[in-house]
Amino acid sequence: MHLAYPAVLAVLLFCVGLYGVLARRNAILVLMSVELMLNAVNLNLVAFDVWLRDALHAGQALTLFTIAIAAAEIGIGLAIVLAVYRNRGTSAVDDLRDTAELPDDGGDGDGGTDSEGAAADEPDEPGKPDGPAAGKASQKAEATA
């Protein structure tokens, strides 16, 4: 069998997974796409292992490891997605934009940006105004304990 067949198939699968990772909105769909990419790599590993006739079967052993790691990854990933969903009520990737500057910052303000950002951050989390205070209190409790 031509080596090009599995190799090209792996490349195409990988790019499909890449597209999914970049285009999908739901975090679980993103995880599925990641699985596709991992599987593309696995196919490559197996194909090259067979082609090279490796005495140690390194490609296949690595494929097994990858599968196991993929299982672990999917478990952790789902746990994270669930935690995010519980805290935020959404699993859409592009809704998680806390690292961005707020759009009303303008963009040419110098010096005032920080204070504006800080001022805008406060109404962003109206639900838990006692968060830091409670954290401090618990730290104090730990310290006294």
């Binding site: 080596l3 890449l18 990772v21 599987n39 197996v46 079967h57 196991a68 999917i74």
Partner: protein, 209 residues
């Protein structure tokens, strides 16, 4: 299946090495590959989330067949067991727990789609070009099977036993991590009445205490 793979392998070995006169194994490989690829494309494009998971099953199963065609039977069975059997089930659980909408959801794709398409196509073009250019003359000899369960097992527990053990530790760590991540709101997930695999593990963890 091993026999079948071996038979295909002998066929392939006897055939001349050209793209215009494919062997039976190659034809099978290409056909299954097309199915796999199509399933993968549907997985990343469908608007129905559960369907995406199901099409993923098809794609992963197709890959298992490809492994078989490449005489790596153990990998194929592991693929079926772990991916089709557990990973997809986990994903479905995840979809349910995040209350994914049943049916067509209008916002399955983000606004990043054109960019994603461009990047994916560019990557595909570049990689296909490179791979095809590099390996178009290479030939896989499938005469004797490379990945029987017997050989794979002995190699795995003889040469790769240390990484194998390390991997088990990693899996344990992942397990603990998943438990910790899920436990933070254990009470709330109990109230939701939808305990997943990891919450179950969390419960067993509680029982052990």
């Amino acid at each position: 299946m091993t026999l079948a793979a071996a038979g295909h392998g002998t066929l392939a070995a006897a055939a001349p090495q050209g793209f215009l006169s494919p062997t039976g194994v190659e034809i099978a490989f290409v056909l299954v590959g097309l199915v796999t690829l199509g399933a993968a494309v549907v997985t990343v494009t469908t608007r129905q989330l559960v369907h995406a998971a199901l099409w993923l099953v098809v794609a992963l199963g197709g890959l298992a067949v490809e492994y078989l065609l490449l005489t790596a039977e153990f990998i194929a069975w592991v693929q079926v067991l772990i991916y089709v059997g557990s990973v997809v089930v986990l994903l479905l659980f995840g979809l349910m727990l995040t209350r994914a909408p049943i049916g067509r959801s209008p916002d399955a794709d983000s606004g990043n789609r054109p960019v994603a398409l461009a990047v994916a196509l560019a990557a595909a073009g570049a990689l296909v070009w490179v791979v095809a250019d590099a390996f178009r003359t290479q030939w896989i000899d499938l005469d004797k099977p490379q990945g029987t369960t017997d050989v794979t097992g002995s190699i795995l527990f003889r040469h790769w036993v240390l990484p194998f053990e390390a991997l088990s530790v990693l899996l344990l760590a992942a397990l603990v991590g998943a438990i910790v991540l899920s436990r933070r709101n254990a009470a709330r997930s109990d109230r939701d009445g939808a305990p997943g695999g990891r919450t179950g593990a969390g419960d067993s963890d509680k029982e052990q205490r």
